[in-house]
Structure formats: structure tokens, C-alpha cells
């Protein structure tokens, strides 16, 4: 195995002398991360994930009851509300894309509410059988926002219900309302008495359930994940994984060059075994790949305030397993390609296709379920799954991380076995 060590040292020396390539391996992903982090920040950022639905409201009723709906809708954080004088103006803005959904409260809204009887609140066939339409309220949206429209419809109906039910109760069944109030007061008093008794018995501290205590502890823990720079928690590992696999081409080129120089034959003529030659040719690139990842993660932290998650050391096995699968693929490409041009063709195709399929270019969560499943045929996807757990979750699923590492090692084993088998034909 000393032969493997000598070959490793030789290749490390050659790599060190090819500093332009090393610089590209490190700088190119950093440039990508910076550009994409800046330009796609709005798409990725956690704050922006809770993007508000923009709702335009036209209140043609203009009376107290309809104003209450407006008040309720404006209180919802998920909605950005603006009032318009008429439907035409609202529709125009919606067509321009400035608003997603428009709510039209018709002039008959208050009249129709006042016509409701207590029984209509529960009846299926009463005056509320068509929900908002029954109340002279319409919700419109473009086809793209159809789902949001349904949500807003239900929300507005709920708010309408909430605002007119007390009025109907007051109007029709004042006595019933009074009884309900008394019942509520009685429940509160019983609850207060129970708490006072527990305090007297000295069990006040233990009154909190175990669940509440855990919840409190969780609440006290500060999340290590920097939400303001959440975008980098996603794109640093994504582009790191993508560029780690660019080692495939570097490694394949090195092997092809070794063959073209005739030095590969010289190695074969020497007492060095095939195992020593393959290991010696692979280890330097594995080291470069691991160092590349570590440096990119350090750069992510220094330049982009990226967090390394709650347990940074667990990143190491993921880094090593990812690099192993990358150099395994490198060996396979090296023993499959015949020329430098073929290395570029195969390498670029594999690296870019796998990166696209796996979610390196677009977060896996954004991909359709089928694509997410398809992506699992790439080692990239498993690496991203592990990084997602470790870098974006406050409570990572370590079992999932272990499974991902296992899959990465399986990919590495398959690539190595095929490369080993084909090595004699190189």
C-alpha cells in the first residue's frame, strides 16, 4: 500500500502545481453562491416564504356591518388589504398583477344580513345556503390565484359570520345570549377555584404539564439558524454539492492525461498493483473535494453568515460520503471516456443533469413530487436531504442523515466497482 501513498503524493503535488484549476474549484462556486444568493434571495428567503396574498376590497355597502368585515380582514397578517372605490378599478389593478384577489361586498349586504333569522345560521337550505353569494359578496381572482381565491372566500365568509352572529343573537334571542354569558362566567369561576386550590396545596410549580415544560425549554433555546440569511442555508450546500461533482471532470482528465502521457502504462509496468494505482489516483481528489466543501462552508459562514446547524460535526460524514460518491463517479467517467472531449461531454452532461434533477439548482421542496422521487436516483439528492436536515432544521432527523450517508456510500460503491472493472480498458 506504500505504492498507493507514493501515487497519492505525486498527484497531490501535480494538483498543487495546477493552482488555476484549484482556484476555479473554489472560486467558481463562491461566485455562483454570491450571485444567486443576491438575485434569488426574495424567492428563497424564509420571511418571503410567508408571502402575503394581496386582496383588493370594494365595499359597495358602506354600512357598519360590512365595515366590520374589512376590520377583521385587515387583521390577518397573511393578507395585504387595500380598499377600492369600485370594482372596475380593482379589476384593473388585478389584471396588472398588483392584486391577487378581489372581494366585492355588494350594496345589499347589510339588508341581507338583517333578513337572516336565528335558524338560518344553522340551516342548510336557509338564506345562507349559497354562503357569500347569499350575502351579495363576490370574490374574484385570476386563474393563477384560484386556490388563494377559495381560501379568501372561506375566510371572508367566516368573518362575516363572526360579525353578524352576535347581532342576530342580540336581536332575536336576547335572553339566550344572556344565558350563554352566565354559563361562560360560571366556567371561568370554576377554573379559577381549581387553580387556587392547587396553589394552596403547594403544587403550583408542578401544575404545568410536562409537555408545557418541554415547550418552555424549546422556547428558551435560541435557534442557531439565521433566518434573515436563510437563503444561504439552502444555496450554499446546493451549489457546494453541485460543484463537488465537478471533481468528476478534473479526476477523469487527470486519468486520461496519465494514459496519454504513457505514465499510466509505466505505473502498470511497475510493481504497483491495480488497487494501489486506483487508490493512489483517487485519494488526492477525495481530499481536494473534502477540502473544497469545508472551505465553501467556511466561506458561507464568513461571507453570508450561514449557520452550520445545531451539530456542525455531523456535517463531516455527509461531506466525506458526498465526496466519495463524486470521486467514484469520476473513476467511472475516467474509465468510460476515451478523450478529453468525451470527458467534457460526459462530465458536463452528468454533472449538470444530476444537479438539475436532484434540486441543486432549484430547492427540492419546490419540485413536483414526481421530480423529487426521480431526483433520488442521484447522489446529489441524498446529500441535499442530509444537508437540509442538518442546516435548516432546529431538530434534525439524524436517522434521515444516516440513511442519506448510507445511500451516498452505496452510490460510491457502485461507481467504484464499475470503474474498477473498466480500469484495465483505460
Amino acid at each position: 500500500m506504500w505504492d498507493a501513498w507514493y501515487i497519492t503524493l505525486k498527484d497531490l503535488r501535480l494538483l498543487w502545481r495546477d493552482q488555476r484549476t484549484l482556484a476555479i474549484l473554489l472560486l467558481l462556486p463562491l461566485i455562483f453562491i454570491t450571485i444567486l444568493g443576491t438575485s434569488t434571495g426574495q424567492l428563497f428567503a424564509l420571511k418571503e416564504k410567508a408571502k402575503k396574498i394581496k386582496v383588493g376590497i370594494v365595499n359597495a355597502d358602506q354600512r357598519e356591518l360590512s365595515a366590520l368585515i374589512l376590520t377583521e380582514v385587515e387583521l390577518v397578517d397573511a393578507l395585504a388589504v387595500e380598499e377600492f372605490p369600485d370594482m372596475e378599478a380593482a379589476r384593473k389593478k388585478m389584471e396588472q398583477g398588483e392584486f391577487d384577489v378581489t372581494v366585492y361586498i355588494g350594496p345589499e349586504y347589510t339588508d341581507r344580513v338583517e333578513a337572516l333569522r336565528l335558524g338560518d345560521l344553522l340551516a342548510k337550505k336557509g338564506l345562507l345556503k349559497d354562503e357569500l353569494t347569499s350575502l351579495d359578496v363576490k370574490v374574484e381572482s385570476s386563474a393563477y390565484w384560484a386556490t388563494a381565491k377559495q381560501v379568501v372566500e372561506k375566510l371572508v365568509f367566516g368573518f362575516a359570520y363572526k360579525t353578524f352572529v352576535p347581532q342576530i343573537l342580540r336581536r332575536d334571542k336576547a335572553k339566550l345570549a344572556l344565558e350563554l354569558k352566565r354559563e361562560a362566567n360560571k366556567i371561568d369561576e370554576e377554573y379559577d377555584a381549581a387553580e387556587a386550590a392547587a396553589a394552596a396545596a403547594g403544587t403550583a410549580d408542578t401544575a404545568k404539564t410536562e409537555l408545557q415544560q418541554i415547550a418552555d425549554r424549546i422556547g428558551e433555546q435560541k435557534s442557531p439558524i439565521n433566518e434573515s440569511n436563510f437563503v444561504y442555508q439552502i444555496i450554499v450546500p446546493s451549489y457546494t454539492v453541485m460543484f463537488v461533482f465537478f471533481i468528476v471532470m478534473l479526476m477523469a482528465r487527470s486519468m486520461i492525461e496519465e494514459r496519454d502521457l504513457g505514465t499510466l502504462n509505466r505505473l502498470r509496468m511497475s510493481p504497483a498493483t491495480q488497487a494501489a494505482t486506483i487508490i493512489g489516483k483517487t485519494v488526492p481528489f477525495l481530499l481536494v473535494s473534502v477540502i473544497q466543501t469545508i472551505l465553501l462552508f467556511i466561506a458561507g459562514r464568513v461571507f453570508f453568515s450561514m449557520s452550520w446547524g445545531v451539530q456542525p460535526w455531523v456535517l463531516l460524514p455527509v461531506i466525506v460520503c458526498t465526496s466519495m460518491s463524486a470521486v467514484g463517479l469520476g473513476l467511472l467517467v475516467a474509465t468510460t471516456a476515451r478523450t478529453d472531449a468525451q470527458v467534457s461531454a460526459y462530465g458536463n452532461f452528468l454533472v449538470l443533469t444530476m444537479a438539475g434533477l436532484s434540486g441543486c439548482m432549484m430547492p427540492r421542496q419546490w419540485q413536483p413530487p414526481l421530480m423529487q422521487k426521480l431526483g433520488l436516483v442521484t447522489p446529489h439528492a441524498w446529500s441535499l436531504i442530509a444537508y437540509d436536515q442538518l442546516l435548516t432544521k432546529q431538530y434534525p432527523d439524524f436517522q434521515q442523515v444516516a440513511q442519506s450517508c448510507g445511500m451516498l456510500l452505496a452510490f460510491a460503491a457502485v461507481f467504484f466497482a464499475l470503474g474498477w472493472w473498466r480500469f484495465r480498458s483505460l
Partner: protein, 315 residues
């Protein structure tokens, strides 16, 4: 005793027979010239000797041991200097030698000492710490040679070691080979430069289409046809050609001019050749043709090679 014995070597690539029943041997201290046109099977033979290919039949023995049964041990006894410059351009000359030396088990001061020795032998000590990418063609060839002999092999296979080098480097390399043989190293020297083979080798093997065409002492191979008679005849005709068919070889015909060779048959005495010449002249005179020039021609290795392998261009 033979250091290398090659017996009935056979190799096929699909339907193409690359080697057919090839046998030869090399004894310690001998330089055997291996000749053959491109595609003759030399490279295949050398790759099998170097352990880069396996044969389909036949046996290779080094020091009496079969190469296929003990490759690891026998590889250490063999040094190969390939035609291509199998050195790392981004390493210095010294680093190249240190690396390949370490693969053969040389370490520490033994490795350093041997590297210095090799650098001195090939005249590269002064340039040892320069990247080989900056070396001239001749320097690269010399380094390529030194890598092959670094581990002090008992058998050295040299494939076109002097291709594309200046006369000084070529001369230096040939001297190095001669010194290796003087030290008792068995050498197989493959080259297209016939004068190199003639100056270095006592015995040669000529192969073509995977077959051994000639094998033996260079003197014996040349002696059989050392003296040919070459003549130029004016007034050539087809009729005259048919009359001389059994007496001469016609090398070219241009209109009424023809070039002929009256060859000396192996083992034939000078008087027989003179008698045949007299017959040829009689026939020419009878046909009223005219002998314009007549001269003797020394037979050398190149002529022998071309006669045996033909003048047709190869790939």
C-alpha cells in the same frame, strides 16, 4: 544462459492475428535488435513482455521463470523504455525519478543515490530540478531512458529510444545502451534506425504480420546476399523480360529502360554468379539491347529489411 525466452507467442485481436508463433531469446549482456514495419507486431510483443497484455498462447520466461506465473517478481527485473515520453511534465527530472524509484521499493538515501547516479549517466544532473516541460526533446528522451533503468533491471526493453533527438543525444543514448550490455544487462532494442541496430546488435529478429521472418546473427543474415549485381539496360521489351525471368530481378521499367539485379543466392560462390552474369549478357546481346551500366551493390540491413518486408507503405 538465456535471460529472456519467448516461445511460440500468439496473440489475436478479434480476427486479426497480431502475433503468430513468435519465438526468440535474449542472453545476458546481449543487445537483440527487434525490427519490423509499423503494425508488424513489435508493440504487441513488447506489451506482452511488459505485462500490459496477456498472450493467447505461448510462454515468456525471464531467468527461467514464467512471466504469467510470477509477474510481480519478474516485473522488478525488467525495465521498459517506451517510445512515448512517459514522464510527468509538471514534475522536475529529479521528482520523476524519485517517484518511479519509490514504486520499485527504493527509499531514503538508496533512492537519492540511485537517482543522482541515473541523472549523471544521462547527463541531466545540471537540469535535475527543472520541470521536464522545459526540457528539450533530447533531454526528455534521456530522462525517459533513465526512468527505465533506474531500478537496475536485468532485462531492458527499449522501444525507439532515440526518436526525434539530436545526434549528440542519440549518440549518448547509444553509448548508455552499450554500457548496459557491458554490465551484463540483456537488452531488446527496437528501432527503425538501421544504423543504430547495426552498430549495437550482434543478433536481430525481423518480424512482420506477427511472424518471425528472420532471426539470427546480423553477419549471417547479411552475408547471404552481400554482393548483388545491379545493371541498367536500354532496349527492354516484354520478350526480353520473359527470357531473363529466371536469371534476374527486375526492379523498375521506364519505357525501354530497365533496372535489373542479378542477385547472389545464399551460399553461392562468386564463380556461379559470374557464370549467371555471362548468361544474362548473352541474352541481352541476342535481343539487341544495350547494357548501359553495371555495378556491384553492398547489401545492408536496410535492404535486407525492405526485401523481407516489402516496399509497400504501411499504416
Amino acid at each position: 544462459m538465456s535471460l529472456l525466452e519467448v516461445e511460440h507467442l500468439h496473440k489475436k485481436y478479434g480476427d486479426f492475428v497480431a502475433l503468430h508463433d513468435l519465438s526468440f531469446e535474449v542472453i545476458a549482456g546481449e543487445v537483440l535488435g527487434l525490427l519490423g514495419p509499423n503494425g508488424a507486431g513489435k508493440s504487441t510483443a513488447m506489451m506482452i513482455l511488459a505485462g500490459l497484455r496477456t498472450s493467447d498462447g505461448g510462454v515468456v520466461r525471464i531467468s527461467g521463470e514464467r512471466l504469467d506465473q510470477n509477474p510481480d517478481k519478474l516485473k522488478r527485473m525488467m525495465g521498459v523504455v517506451p517510445q512515448e515520453l512517459a514522464i510527468y511534465p509538471d514534475l522536475t527530472g529529479r521528482e520523476n525519478l524519485m517517484f518511479f524509484g519509490s514504486l520499485y521499493g527504493y527509499t531514503g538515501s538508496r533512492l537519492k543515490g540511485r537517482v543522482e547516479e541515473c541523472l549523471n549517466v544521462v547527463g541531466l544532473a545540471e537540469f535535475a530540478d527543472q520541470h521536464t516541460a522545459t526540457y528539450s526533446g533530447g533531454m526528455k528522451r534521456r530522462l525517459n531512458f533513465s526512468v527505465g533503468i533506474l531500478h537496475e533491471p536485468e532485462l531492458v526493453v527499449l522501444d525507439e529510444p532515440t526518436v526525434g533527438v539530436d545526434p549528440q543525444s542519440r549518440n549518448h543514448l547509444i553509448e548508455c545502451v552499450r554500457k548496459l550490455a557491458q554490465k551484463g544487462v540483456a537488452v531488446i532494442y527496437c528501432s527503425h534506425y538501421m544504423e543504430e541496430i547495426e552498430s549495437l546488435c550482434r543478433r536481430v529478429a525481423i518480424i512482420d504480420h506477427g511472424k518471425l521472418l528472420a532471426y539470427g546473427a546480423l553477419e549471417d543474415l547479411l552475408d547471404g546476399s552481400r554482393l548483388d549485381l545491379e545493371m541498367r539496360v536500354r532496349g527492354w521489351s516484354v520478350e526480353l523480360g520473359s527470357k531473363l525471368e529466371k536469371l534476374v530481378k527486375v526492379t523498375s521499367v521506364e519505357g525501354v529502360d530497365a533496372h535489373l539485379i542479378v542477385p547472389r543466392v545464399a551460399g553461392e560462390g562468386r564463380s556461379n554468379l559470374t557464370n549467371r552474369l555471362a548468361q544474362v549478357l548473352d541474352v541481352i546481346r541476342a535481343a539487341q539491347a544495350e547494357v548501359q551500366t553495371i555495378q556491384t551493390k553492398e547489401h545492408n540491413l536496410e535492404r535486407l529489411f525492405l526485401e523481407m518486408t516489402g516496399r509497400k507503405l504501411r499504416d
